[in-house]
């Protein structure tokens, strides 16, 4: 049963990921990416990583929607009526894609799954959350706080660059 769901959601993620590039509509492309990520979240759920799965499913909905509005705002043909191509830098992408496939296949082939399976039994979901909390507020706190503050700084800096210049300065410049 678990194998079936892992396969199902894995395939769904791939199908939606392909759809991202097969369409010419910005909106469809963004939503396909969203549902590809949602399928990955469901895959995590099937792998018994409950917290990670639910978090992925939650975060992606808002993120991809915001990405959609920016794509619609800035692209000349958001509806894809002109038959817009979603792919670019094709040779580089192909090489990168092939490389990634080979890397993942190599990892899959050379991992000693039998040993891993006997070693680790997934902890109960509430136990996982407890471990995660201890990790985030213990050993890894500095790492996460640094990352958080960096993102916050970037957000404030972006906003500061994007907002309109106050009127008195603007008149000075013109």
């Amino acid at each position: 049963m678990q194998t079936f769901f892992i396969g199902f959601f894995g395939l769904a993620a791939i199908v939606f990921a392909v759809a991202v590039f097969r369409t010419s509509s910005m909106m469809r492309s963004a939503l396909a990416l969203l549902f590809s990520q949602t399928a990955l979240g469901a895959l995590f759920l099937a792998l018994q990583a409950e917290f990670l799965g639910v978090l992925q499913i939650m975060m992606m909905a808002t993120e991809m929607s915001i990405m959609a509005i920016f794509m619609v705002m800035f692209m000349m043909d958001p509806g894809g009526l002109g038959g817009m191509d979603m792919s670019h830098q094709k040779r580089l992408s192909m090489i990168a894609g092939l490389g990634a496939v080979m890397l993942v296949s190599a990892i899959a082939a050379y991992t000693r799954w039998q040993e891993l399976a006997s070693l680790s039994q997934a902890a109960a979901a509430d136990e996982q959350i407890r471990h995660l909390g201890r990790e985030l507020l213990g050993r890894s706190m500095l790492v996460f706080e640094t990352a958080g503050i960096t993102i916050l700084t970037a957000m404030i800096a972006t906003t500061a660059v994007a907002v309109k210049v106050p009127a008195e300065n603007a008149s000075h410049e013109s």
Binding site: M27, L31, F51, I57, M58, A61, S65, A125, D126, I129
Partner: protein, 298 residues
């Protein structure tokens, strides 16, 4: 079995919400009116606009209904009456509610109509404003319960309901839940006097019926969430647990509709300013206060 009971309960709740909304907006009280309106919508022709994005147009109403149902799946009506008592229940409900946004964006974009599209993007503006006010009060609730299990959250309110233990969080969550359901005063994405009903503008017939049902179920789900997180869920003397749950859910739903009736509409940019400049600092303060109270053993 509990799935069936909860779905029936949600439908009954949706019916009650429809009755109440009728009473508030039209001043009439006709118990058959919601059923007749639904039957009329189902029988009417369901028009498809010219050049729609068919896939998104068809999926959106169903997705809204599914998101609302999933949000209710982790909410207990009694200690045993719950669809899935997930260890991540408090987080899962946020995940389900995030897809309300996706459904409305699809409903806005799909029909290829300007009014609908503007309505959809307006809801996105609203989400950026309110979403932290859903997540942060739930965080404070989980801090007190020391668990994300919704049943444990109800259990933690044996002494004091969270409404009294953390009134600030309750107020913020209540306001944000009005915005999730795009109820007045935050109904600019779909209000009839605005953009000719916004996201609902191009939907007719059976599709509109599903869209409206999805919204009603969403109101019930949010009322149930408020009841579970802040009003002690099934806790109460004398009556059986599920009766207390039902009474609280109905009371919160009525309060949600009444609040919108007496307040003026809020524009998205004003909501954004209020939420980020006042709401989020207050929500952080709430988390801090609850943290101190928990540490002090209160």
């Amino acid at each position: 079995m509990s799935v069936l009971i909860i779905v029936l309960g949600l439908l009954a709740g949706a019916y009650a919400v429809a009755l109440l909304e009728d009473r508030l907006t039209r001043g009439s009280f006709a118990p058959a009116a919601p059923l007749l309106a639904a039957a009329a919508l189902l029988a009417r022709e369901s028009i498809v606009t010219r050049k729609p994005d068919r896939l998104l147009f068809e999926t959106a109403p169903v997705l809204l209904l599914i998101a609302a149902l999933l949000a209710a799946a982790v909410l207990p009506l009694s200690p045993t009456l719950i669809v899935a008592d997930l260890a991540t229940g408090g987080l899962f409900i946020n995940a389900a509610l995030a897809y309300v946004l996706v459904a409305l964006l699809m409903a806005g974009w799909g029909p290829d109509g300007a009014y609908a599209m503007v309505g959809g993007w307006r809801f996105l503006g609203q989400v950026i404003a309110y979403s932290m006010l859903i997540v942060m009060p739930i965080t404070a609730v989980a801090i007190r319960a020391e668990s994300l299990l919704t049943t444990a959250i109800v259990g933690s309110q044996e002494g004091w309901w969270n409404m009294f233990y953390q009134p600030l969080g309750f107020l913020l969550f209540f306001i944000a839940s009005l915005a999730v359901c795009f109820l007045p005063p935050f109904d600019r994405p779909s209000a009839e006097g605005e953009l000719a009903a916004g996201v609902e503008a191009e939907y007719t017939g059976a599709r509109l019926a599903i869209l409206r049902l999805g919204r009603m179920v969403l109101v019930v789900s949010l009322a149930a969430a408020t009841s579970v997180f802040f009003l002690g869920g099934w806790l109460g003397p004398w009556l059986p647990p599920w009766v207390w749950s039902a009474l609280k859910v109905l009371a919160v739903a009525a309060l949600m509709l009444l609040a919108g009736y007496y307040l003026p509409r809020v524009r998205e940019e004003h909501l954004l300013a209020w939420c980020w400049k006042l709401g989020i600092p207050l929500a952080l303060l709430n988390i801090f206060i609850v943290g101190v109270m928990v540490l002090a053993g209160l």
